[in-house]
């Protein structure tokens, strides 16, 4: 085990990673958020969901560095007297949770369907690819919007809707890989002996799809977080009881015209930062895993 670990640190991947300002910045940002959502709630001055701890007298306080600011509420408060910073920490949690769960589910579902379609071929494959093509010709956000509009808000519904929209890319990649493997001679050889080639194909396919899937998944997390933020902003995403960063922006929008900008600007900034960090990593991974050097 230690030999493997040592090998990784000497690898070209690691070498390039630590020398890439983008990748390191991305890692930093993502780590920051991970730490924030795991340890944050322990340190936030306030639990924004605990109605009892809110005081309407605290409402609309600006950030601490502005006139009228209160050091107890570093980034200001919203219309309910909720501390914005605390709300953002909890909101990041929700956004990240949705991002990760959707990606994991989409990946599993997509890989499964891609494997099935690729392996069995024929009608099943055609049907699946049809669905994929049709679904890809419509913007993901719109489909998710429609589903959420129809079934109402809710965390579970949101994750389901985004998964329904998200499995497609994984399925297509995996299917492609399976098709390539199927053409190879060992498949015929196995069949001749009477063995099912499926486990062997699997063994060959999995290492090949690992890197593309990692790249797709990483970028997908960013996409999901943005989509969820947008849907929540439109009012069809997360329920009001579990405000994600997107919903926080929406709440802030309502008071924007009175000049109270912080409750929409800061949460939005957080979204941007998080997605940017993820994209930095995703970009690096994609370039790294690209078979450009022949």
């Amino acid at each position: 085990m230690s030999a493997k670990k040592e090998g990784f640190f000497k690898s070209e991947f690691f070498h390039n990673f630590v020398r890439s300002p983008g990748a390191m910045a991305g890692l930093l940002i993502v780590t920051f958020f991970v730490v924030l959502v795991t340890a944050g709630p322990l340190f936030t001055p306030q639990n924004p969901y605990d109605i009892g701890s809110l005081d309407l007298m605290d409402a609309f306080k600006p950030p601490v560095w502005m006139e009228g600011g209160d050091p107890a509420f570093v980034l200001g408060t919203d219309d309910q007297g909720r501390d914005l910073l605390s709300a953002m920490v909890y909101g990041s949690r929700i956004s990240l949770f949705i991002g990760l769960s959707v990606v994991v589910l989409s990946c599993v579902l997509g890989t499964f369907l891609g494997l099935t379609a690729g392996y069995f071929g024929g009608r099943l494959d055609s049907l699946l690819m049809r669905i994929v093509d049709i679904q890809l010709s419509f913007p993901a956000m719109l489909v998710a919007l429609f589903i959420m509009a129809a079934f109402g808000r809710g965390l579970g519904k949101l994750v389901t809707a985004l998964t329904i929209v998200g499995w497609v890319l994984y399925a297509r990649t995996v299917r492609g890989s399976v098709l390539v493997e199927k053409k190879k001679e060992y498949v015929d050889a196995a069949r001749l002996i009477g063995l099912s080639p499926f486990p062997i194909i699997l063994r060959h396919v999995l290492p090949n799809i690992l890197t593309p899937l990692i790249v797709i998944a990483t970028i997908h997390v960013g996409t999901v977080i943005l989509t969820e933020a947008t849907l929540s902003y439109l009012g069809v995403g997360v329920p009001v009881t579990r405000p994600s960063l997107g919903l926080l922006v929406k709440n802030g929008y309502d008071v924007l015209f009175s000049g109270l900008w912080w409750s929409s600007v800061f949460p939005g900034m957080f979204i941007m930062l998080l997605v940017f960090g993820i994209n930095l990593l995703g970009d690096f991974l994609r370039d790294e895993f690209n078979p450009r050097l022949k």
Binding site: F138, G259, V275, I278
Partner: protein, 321 residues
Amino acid sequence: MLKYLLKRLVQMIVVLFTVSVIVFLVMSFTGDPVLMIVPPTATDAQIAEARTALGLDRPLWVQYGVFLQNLLRGDLGVSYIFKRPALTLIVERMPATLELVFFSVLLSLAVALPCGVYAGARPNSPFSRAVMGGSLLGISLPSFWVGILLIFYFAVEKGLLPSSGRGATAPLFGIPFAFLTWDGFRHIVLPAVTLALGTLAMLIRLIRAQIMEVMRQDFIRFARAKGVSWRSLFFSHALKNALVPVVTVFGMQIGSLIAFATVTETIFAWPGMGKLLVDSINTADRPVIVAYLMIVAAIFVLINFLVDIVYTLIDPRIDLR
């Protein structure tokens, strides 16, 4: 050629048909529209009456049949809220959305093409690196947040540009467009910029990547071995080859723009189809939602078709099978 067109037509119809089924099914499971129509004080008998009047007491597949029939006749239902045909409502608002999308596209292309091409030609220059960093940020931005920032700075703080609405319009071929008036044009600036940002960022990256990809290919090397100058290599050989796939992607993006216009229109209270959709979702105005989806589906299918046609025209390798 004709065979291909027919084949595509059939495909498009199949897709639209599938969409209609899905839309119908999903919508029919969401809440009871009757309760939207009748006043809260209605008796059970009145509710039952309303239900029959709307044809909601009949079996699902019959309802779908009626739906389909009406669809083919151009009748997409009547809005519960506005009490007017849904189709009319949408068509009325289409020009607003279209001009918004149009200007966003124009803006995106105007910025992305030169920047992307330059970044592709000199991939390691400081400009290129800045562009890459900026565009990565660009695709990480939540568009609604950008809209809010723009509103706050330009409208609330500085009062330079209006924060919402469409402003005055002037007719072109009888259709009212905002950009034809100065007031309307002022109103379109912020929304168009907001909408353009995401696409712009994506396009720059795509163009740069494509150009770099093409410059690596064998035929470029061969041309170089012929003694062709770098300038010729880039502009006569690489560029066209690089931009052909960009056309396809961009075509698909237009569909995405129409979708994201919903958000932009909501932020800026721009009276387009997108805003209508969001409002209808909030008021559970089912017929309008269904009508919007069907129309937008038709638009996407059409766009895909057109993009394919354009692609066959510019790439001589594609044979119309």
